[in-house]
Every structure is written in C-alpha cells, then in structure tokens.
Subunit: 144 residues, 2 copies
Amino acid sequence: MPANDAMTEALRGAGLRITAARRAIAALLEDRSGHFTAEDVLNDAAAAGHDVGRATVFRSLETLSRLGLVERVDLPSGEHAYVACRPDEHHHHVVCSRCGRSVEVADIGLAPVLARVAEASGFRIDSHRLELFGVCADCRAQDR
Amino acid sequence: MPANDAMTEALRGAGLRITAARRAIAALLEDRSGHFTAEDVLNDAAAAGHDVGRATVFRSLETLSRLGLVERVDLPSGEHAYVACRPDEHHHHVVCSRCGRSVEVADIGLAPVLARVAEASGFRIDSHRLELFGVCADCRAQDR
DNA sequence: GACTTACTGCGACTCAGTCTCATGTGTGGT
DNA sequence: ACCACACATGAGACTGAGTCGCAGTAAGTC
C-alpha cells in the first residue's frame, strides 16, 4: 500500500501517531479515485466495519490536509470535498463533473498570470486556488 | 445609484420583479467594497431597519448570482462569501486577506493555461474557478 | 509492562442554508 | 385608477455539516 506508506511516513515525520482510525481512513482514500466528502468517508468506514466517529473523520481530514496528503476542493455546488494528492509540489485538480473522478495536474504556467494580476491590481498575491471542472476522456467516450 | 440601476435593469431584463427586499439588498451591496456573507447582508438589513427574512437573503443572492451581479467566492477558511461584480465579461476576484476588500481583474491569459491542462489531462474543461488571495496596496502601505 | 498523553468516540451543540406555506405586493391588462 | 394573478416575501420549523468538551482508550517511550 504505497499511499498508506506515504501517510505513515508523513505522520511519523510530523510526530503524530499512527492510529487505527487514521489507517482506516487512509485505506478508504486509496480506493477512491475522485473527490469525496467527509460524509463519504464516514459511510465507507461504517460499511467497512470500522467504528470511526464523525468528529474523528473531520479531525483526521484536517490533519491530512495540513500534511498535504489531502486537499480541500470546493465543488461548484458549494459542497466541501477532498481529494487525495501527493504532498510534494504545487498542483491543481481537474474534477470530472460526470463521474467525479479527479486528476492532478502540475502547475502549468500560472505564475506569469499571477504576476500580471499582481501588477494590474496592486495586490501582493499570497495564495490562489484554481479549480477546474470538466468532463474526462472516459465520460466523453461514453457519450457517443 | 449606478449599481442599483444596473440591478434594476438586469432584473427587468430577466422578467423579475423589483421588490423592496431586492432594492434594500442592492443598496447594501453598494456600500461594501469587499466580500460579504449572507449573514452580513442579514445583519446590515436589520440594522438599516429593513425586515428582510433569512430565506429572502439567500434567495436574492442566488438570483443576483444567476444574473451575474454577484459572485460566490469560497474563502480559504471554507466560508461562502459573495462579491458584487459587473455582469459583462469573464473575470476573477482578488481578495485582500487583511481588510477583506476585493478587486475585479479581467481574465488575463488564463486560456492557454486551460488549454494545456486539457491536453495534459484528457479532460474537456468546461468551467474553472480562480480565486486569488493576497494583501492589497493600502494594507501593505500600512505595514510600514 | 507501566506511564504519559495524543487521539478517539460519543453526544450535545451551533450555525448556515433550505423548505413550506400563508400572506403580501409588483406588474400588466383594462 | 383599479383589479387580478403570479411572483416574491417572512416566519419559523427543519436539516445536515461541522465543532466542542469530556471521559475513556491505546500508541509510543522508557
């Protein structure tokens, strides 16, 4: 389980404990290729026979997101979802609005755009959030 | 009141009514240079002596956002806020994380970035959301 | 194996946002 | 100027996501 290893390592590196609940959540994340809500995690955990409390799910997701193993995405509907991701470098997510699958894309040439915005607005840009929504190749293939 | 006029026009154009509640909300939007939450509108309306119901605020904001006079922004904190904006063309918002002020910037060269993402991911990109956070010129000046 | 304390589960709580429904009020037609 | 009708509103109950506090549990350390 590679992702699980990554998580173990990240937790250990941060001096946090590797607990049953966190392990269970990590396992669920691996099985999901797309975005998921806290509620999804809660349901999946219950279905898998793990008794994980609602609060624990939220706390764990927050922890994981601080470690960069998971990222919060605000869906167009206003729902708060999460996507698993690699902690290393800056990237964005493309979410399929048909099947919910989500793909990471490297940060591709956004820097000059940000520089232009900074210049035009007089702001110092500290952070940004780019969320992309569309239809993935598979779903488009099915349309025909 | 130019913004109010814009709103009147937009409502009329869409075959919607110009009601007291909507007028009151439009007036409040004009006084705000930054982002605001539904709760803010509710409070301001109450403070200004208008009895606007909670449900009405949400309904009106939804209507206004459909008309493009207002746009939803998801703050880094996860809060749902709104910013007033011009309905014409595609643009983004830069939000000052110090004072909350928000500025519109024209869509500046994001198209090639999107094209690259589409190519890299195999997705057809239908929509995107770019939110920028930073510190505005005024707040930076005050830092010194 | 015992100790410390981070972490968990539970359940109560808060608060944003929605729904329903009876009432009110713009608007277009006359 | 008036009327009628449908759109819009307000009140308040409701829902559901997310948080909090606390007592109990178990991971890591020695």
